[in-house]
Symmetry: C2
Subunit: 119 residues, 2 copies
DNA sequence: TCTTGACCTGGAGCCCACTCCAGGTGAAAT
DNA sequence: ATTTCACCTGGAGTGGGCTCCAGGTCAAGA
């Protein structure tokens, strides 16, 4: 059972310690275990969940939606169909983002070419 | 010389009128012409520039950077090499965004598959 | 002519997602 | 033993990018 100090989790996940505390405060992270001195000791599971959070956050999912997902996860296995639905919906949004970015990028390329031609 | 009312520009560009006013206030839009009553009348050029702004904004360029680009445009043709540099740098960031999203999307797909398997 | 509606200004307010701070405790290294 | 350092809490503050509001002016259709 590996256990991580806050500093290790910061290193591992790229979230700042303030962000980790914030995520715990709002319930995106379930109450993290404490040692005798009251300092956080993250479990392997916590770190794994933070990997998921990182993925969702970096693909633009709002915290409110991540919170809904977190609640589904906590509610147990019977919510797996709902989790799939939520992730599929998110996947569509990510796909749309990618396509949108690609289209905008073509516009940027056109603009750059234009600038090159008028030089 | 076509001229657009605020409502037409909202329709055309998808920016809200408040956003248009805000962009003018901060200098992302050059002072827009007014009619006798003081109401904005946007030129074809303004609308074209807003198309560029839309593209840059939707690809995540911060307003501060758009402002630098706007200043280059205003400064005249001798800034074209600098504009190319700025757009190329932005293009790299857009490319990185796309690649990052694609990688995260693969993670999401993995997760969905996993959930499907445990069902 | 009247009314409705588009538009104006300056400035305050809002939302999101953190980020920072003060004041304090415990642990670890010298 | 002492110093340094990681960490704690509650709560205030920040930054980006709008968005809304009050109070007012013109304009265009019925």
């Amino acid at each position: 059972m590996s256990v991580y100090t806050p500093a290790e989790v910061v290193e591992e996940t790229g979230f700042s310690i303030d962000t980790l505390r914030y995520y715990e405060k709002i319930g995106l992270l379930e109450r993290i275990d404490r040692n005798a001195a009251g300092q956080r000791r993250f479990s392997q599971e916590d770190v794994g969940w933070l990997g998921m959070v990182r993925c969702l956050r970096d693909t633009g999912m709002p915290i409110a939606t991540m919170l809904r997902f977190a609640e589904l996860v906590r509610a147990g296995d019977h919510t797996i169909p709902d989790r799939i639905k939520l992730l599929e919906e998110h996947d569509r949004q990510v796909q749309a983002q990618i396509e949108n970015l690609a289209a905008r990028q073509r516009y940027i390329h056109t603009k750059i070419s234009y600038y090159r031609r008028v030089l």
